[in-house]
């Protein structure tokens, strides 16, 4: 960010070695912060890892592991999972559980990240999704929100690993046109 005298701040003058940006972006998706650590930007890597993963696991805990699941059935379009998938590997067990559920196999991780067995979209004791809502109340929604935001935050981190920090230039910040434009008029 530019200082008051128009000079760029110290961190804007730093040249960031992004190494291979595509590889860094893939690492950043696989594990939050890993892309930055690959680029030897250790402080930011650890910051992203701590912030994103703590948000993710806190949300997962709030919903007792049921808020992250992959399902696209007639009665249950779990679109939230697309946001949650942004966090990378921590969200992938949901796909494994989804595939197992399609084959009528028992869940692997004690039911964590497994899709609900039956969803009717009306109140029924056999509707597992409505039972989760009943049991966990607002924590189900809160957990979903936390995990979605964690996934979306990691998309920002992936972009940062690929393209470096989004620095605001003085021209973007100022409403005035640049001096060259004024001379032309």
């Amino acid at each position: 960010m530019p200082t008051e005298d128009g000079m760029p701040a110290a961190d804007e003058m730093i040249e960031v070695d992004l190494r291979n940006p595509a590889v860094a972006a893939v690492w950043a998706w696989v594990w939050p912060g890993a892309g930055h650590i690959y680029q030897r930007r250790y402080a930011k890597g650890i910051l992203f890892m701590v912030c994103i993963l703590s948000t993710w696991f806190f949300g997962l805990g709030l919903g007792h592991g049921h808020v992250v699941y992959a399902s696209w059935t007639k009665n249950d379009h779990r679109w939230q999972y697309f946001c949650q998938l942004g966090v990378g590997t921590p969200a992938l067990p949901a796909i494994v559980e989804s595939q197992r559920a399609k084959k009528d196999k028992e869940p692997l991780f004690g039911g964590w990240m497994a899709p609900p067995k039956q969803v009717f979209n009306y109140e029924s004791p056999d509707d597992e999704l409505s039972q989760w809502h009943l049991k966990y109340h607002s924590f189900f929604e809160l957990g979903t929100l936390y995990t979605m935001i964690a996934g979306l935050l990691n998309v920002l981190a992936i972009y940062d690993a690929y393209g470096g920090p989004m620095v605001i230039t003085s021209d973007e910040k100022s409403d005035k046109p640049p001096p060259d434009d004024q001379d032309d008029s």
Binding site: M1, A9, A10, D11, I14, V16, R41, A43, K44, L47, F48, C51, I52, S54, T55, F58, S138, L142, L145, Y146, I149, A150, L153, L156, A157, Y159, D160, G164, P165, M166, V167, I168
Partner: protein
């Protein structure tokens, strides 16, 4: 009195917004800067902005709920 206590109990859930604000602000700040000083500075301003925005929305909703 019971209604007031119930409404205060409901607002306790707002504490769950605090970790989110901290996390979002830090990640947002980290995507704008490279060094830890400017990141924390940006994160603090972002957190104040988000908190202020939430407080305004909260006050508006509270006023509506009292009025209706």
């Amino acid at each position: 009195m019971i209604e007031l206590l119930a409404s205060v109990a409901d607002t306790n859930r707002l504490w769950y917004a605090l970790p989110l604000i901290v996390s979002v602000s830090l990640v947002y700040g980290a995507t704008r800067h490279e060094l830890m000083g400017p990141i924390l500075n940006n994160a603090f301003r972002a957190a104040v902005w988000i908190g202020g925005f939430m407080a305004i929305i909260f006050a508006i909703l509270m006023a509506i709920s009292w009025a209706v």
